[in-house]
Symmetry: C2
Subunit: 559 residues, 2 copies
């Protein structure tokens, strides 16, 4: 193939970004090349993005990849309309060999060329952030601005972060080494050695419904940047954002002279169970998955020919001991519970509050007062339907609504979930958070000890902060957690919470009262999950997330 | 606990070695602080080491670790004598909690302190290399000088390499970061973040019979240096080298003020199956294992609560296409087949030789000539019983002898295995290598396609070098390989062999004719295995080998 876009040209335009990303993962200071503000993408970007999205609806999404044996797809927006898009369905016996075919040249290109190609893919995705935002919004139910930020800029950040980690890991062993071992009076033994990063094989991305790009890009780009081919199996309800991603990747691969089939899409027909079939194929040597614990466990147990990276369910806890900024705490928590209707793997579920209440800058507040004040803060935040809709988004699927209704029967309701009418999308199902009171002394079958995915939280009354920490420890150890939050003015309590989080490998946010929320992490600085408790076996993104996606092959010969 | 040995003192004596090791894994040039020559350890070291070893025999090996409920041990030297040493048998319900108890302080000490303590342990082991050499010799059957080098200096190198990798990985994320995110005209969001490397839990080392220290130290030191506690379950026939290691580690931990129980020994009673029991305990979060494919597979399937690092069986191949140094090639191969009676996971098993013969600097040699010349080279190398014994060592167990005898029935014997009498140890079972002719066109049930552990090689006649490469590819893909060798004067063939090894993730040695052998790898420079083919799921030692033994916990708070 002839490259229309030379690697030298790419180095000129993209190498500086790679270097900045490498610096950012080392310092972990704030950095991002991807703007969060919708207006940052140019004056015509909003209209262009919407038009591009609308043009995709009601038609086929061609990809020109081998082995297409039909068309499938039945996405319906959580905001109401059916998308009406059909995607190629693949005969995997044809597609899998095609996906593998270009791996030799991709391996030979080396870590820098692969990183630059990945950065070009991300740059083109970034340029179409508005189009992606509509695609994410109408598959996940995220509100538009969140879809643009989390599904656009932040997802691109996480992808870029993975590329930087992949480059750093692959280049820590030199390409060549001369080795000379003294032999006393005899001549030294001398060897020339070369070291090459080689891929594991085909990397399977099993996409999720709620964050198809944000949760998908780290694995996709980590695998591609380390020389693997990537087969993308999207969630049937969130195909479009990943289909657009695959199309962009294939475009850039072809333009740079690589085989576009290094990235391919595998959309399943209803009930086909394609992820299970693909995950155990011998060609598949890496699996990335975000979703239910049941299927994550299935993958870990059965896909033993592959390295399996899973993010599963967890039970996120906030320990409320005391605060010097009561209003700030309530506002911050209200926002965290409400954002995307609590449908984030990082949303707090259990708020542990001492039965005797807590100290605040304005004096003591009883358990009931804290719960009532939090409920009021949520009500205030979500009082206006339009504003509430922009924060809540829509319920991603009917199961979430059913879960809210069932949870309301589990105890005394401190804050009822109400229906919100989205003025722009009247068919969207929008519900405010539910807060249920619960007893921290309940047994191991307490409902709050299982993940209740969606806008459901439990205000768990505990005997003391010590009791809260014991419950926190047990929850993380047995059920996992993506996030832990804590509010305290006591250095001793702070140290004790830190100790539990260090012991149980949970990421901790302390005393958040402003514009940073426990459920949001920033690429290049914050780790998403720890990979050390049952919620996930990997963190986004660290060396361990990329270092085993490739192997180093040494060739040695006498010098 | 009061530290008798301060960390500051340790930094003065050991930090420079750590820095040199860090430099070595980056450049991969030759380096080692551990002398290979027996005389390098001082004039009295040989006698002192022997006396120390003799003093251990016929007695109990006290360790003062909690939960000892009896004594066990029945090691017999492959050189004849029973060692008569009894080791504490542990009640694991008592020992496991004790092993975990010191992890908090060990975590809090941080990566540098842990590295320095590990280096002190290695330095004390190094000072007693002669004693360890006797222990390795009389459990593995390695000849004394090999036991001193591979079981002493080189094992210490591999341990130090793991410490360096562990330190490098843990310190790539800063301890602290300040994060300031611009918010347009509003104040920036500002956070202070801390990052702490936390261990996974208890790391279980399941030791092997042939290389208890060399194969054990990487996992042991990688886990200890990353903050884990390490429980050592030695092979019942090779307890002593690891018992001495555990004792040394406990000594240094205690002297530096840490809990000695962070490293403990779990010796099994005959038939107890302790590895299976320990490997699935919830406290055990890491397993390192070297041994049979059957038990390695069992561990990978069942110990799902742990990260499992396995080195299993493989079928190592040497492709013989042509050579410009025929004598050098024959001598090098003869040595590789003979060293430690072929009982290395890296010993070549299948020598692929074209039916039509090969080109050499002295003209063409037929297949039969090559095989006969290699047989003659082995005979010459091992003609003298004393010299042969020093190279062959002793058969590690009776299964190896049975395997030689069975293999002699598998085809035309090109070189018969003969008994060698070790003049110093007349009871040792010593056998020279067997070479059997085989047909490269045989089906997938050909005996040479399974590992035949011990001094058994197959001279496999192939139709062409292309056929050899195809057989090499199939062998590595389906059966794995720790090493691949090749001899060729053709740049095209060289490139083709490299391509197969890159495709199948196998480590390749080209045209070895001097003092470097395909079955030997040097720490800090050579990778042992690739972790990318069925012979092993990890390489010694790379970032992936250490990066997932710890997790990074972040605590963030408003600045």
């Amino acid at each position: 193939m002839t490259a229309q876009l030379s690697l030298q040209k790419l180095a000129e335009t993209r190498r500086a970004v790679l270097d900045q990303a490498l610096d950012a993962i080392r310092t972990r200071a704030y950095w991002s090349p991807h703007p969060e503000h919708p207006k940052a993408y140019g004056e015509t970007a909003p209209a262009d993005g919407l038009a591009a999205f609308e043009a995709l609806r009601g038609g086929r999404f061609p990809l020109d990849q081998p082995g297409t044996d039909g068309w499938t797809g039945a996405e319906t927006s959580p905001y109401g309309p059916a998308l009406g898009i059909e995607y190629p369905h693949a005969d995997i016996e044809v597609l899998l060999p095609a996906v593998r075919a270009g791996m030799g040249a991709w391996r030979a290109a080396g870590p820098e060329a692969r990183a630059l190609v990945c950065l070009e893919i991300l740059a083109r995705i970034s340029a179409r952030t508005h189009e992606f935002a509509h695609a994410v919004m109408h598959t996940s139910g995220q509100a538009f601005v969140m879809a643009l930020q989390a599904g656009g800029a932040h997802a691109q950040d996480r992808g870029l972060e993975a590329v930087a980690y992949a480059y750093a890991e692959q280049t820590r062993v030199p390409e060549r080494a001369d080795w000379s071992k003294p032999q006393g009076r005899r001549d030294p033994l001398e060897m020339r050695k070369t070291f090459t990063a080689v891929p594991r094989g085909v990397s399977l991305l099993v996409g999720c419904n709620t964050f198809p790009t944000w949760n998908g890009y780290p694995g996709l780009f980590a695998s591609l940047a380390t020389g693997n081919a990537v087969l993308v199996k999207p969630h049937p309800r969130a195909v479009l954002p990943l289909a657009l991603t695959v199309r962009t990747a294939r475009e850039v691969l072809a333009e740079t002279g690589f085989d576009p089939n290094l990235v391919a899409l595998a959309v399943e027909r209803p009930g086909e169970g394609l992820a299970k079939e693909l995950a155990v194929r011998p060609e598949v040597r890496i699996v990335d998955y975000t979703g239910s614990t049941a299927f994550g466990d299935w993958l870990e147990e059965h896909a033993r020919q592959a390295r399996v990276y899973t993010e599963k369910a967890g039970v996120n806890t906030v320990v409320i001991d005391s605060t010097g900024d009561y209003r700030g705490m309530l506002g911050n928590l209200a926002f965290s519970l409400s954002l995307y209707s609590g449908q984030m793997c990082t949303t707090p579920q259990n708020l542990l509050i001492p039965r005797d209440g807590i100290g605040t800058e304005d004096g003591h507040r009883t358990y009931d007062e804290v719960v009532a004040d939090l409920a009021a803060a949520v009500d205030t935040l979500l009082g206006d339907d339009a504003r509430a809709s922009a924060l809540l988004g829509a319920l991603v699927n009917p199961d979430v609504k059913a879960r809210i209704e069932a949870a309301a029967e589990l105890g005394e309701v401190a804050l009822a979930s109400r229906e919100v009418r989205n003025p722009e999308w009247p068919d969207a199902v929008v519900r405010t958070p539910l807060i249920v009171k619960a007893d921290g002394g309940a047994g191991s079958d307490a409902p709050y000890l299982a993940e209740c995915f969606g806008p459901v939280s439990f205000a768990v009354a505990v005997d003391s902060t010590a009791g809260a920490l014991e419950l926190l420890r047990r929850t993380v150890r047995e059920h996992g957690a993506m996030t832990v939050g804590a509010y305290t003015t006591s250095p001793e309590v702070e140290a004790a919470v830190e100790e539990v989080c260090l012991d149980e490998a949970a990421q901790l946010s302390l005393n958040l009262t402003g514009g940073v929320f426990v459920n949001q992490t920033a690429a290049f600085s914050d780790f998403h999950g720890s990979g050390g408790n049952p919620a996930a076996n990997a963190a986004l993104c660290d060396a361990a997330f990329v270092a085993d996606r490739f192997r180093t092959v040494e060739v040695r010969r006498p010098a």
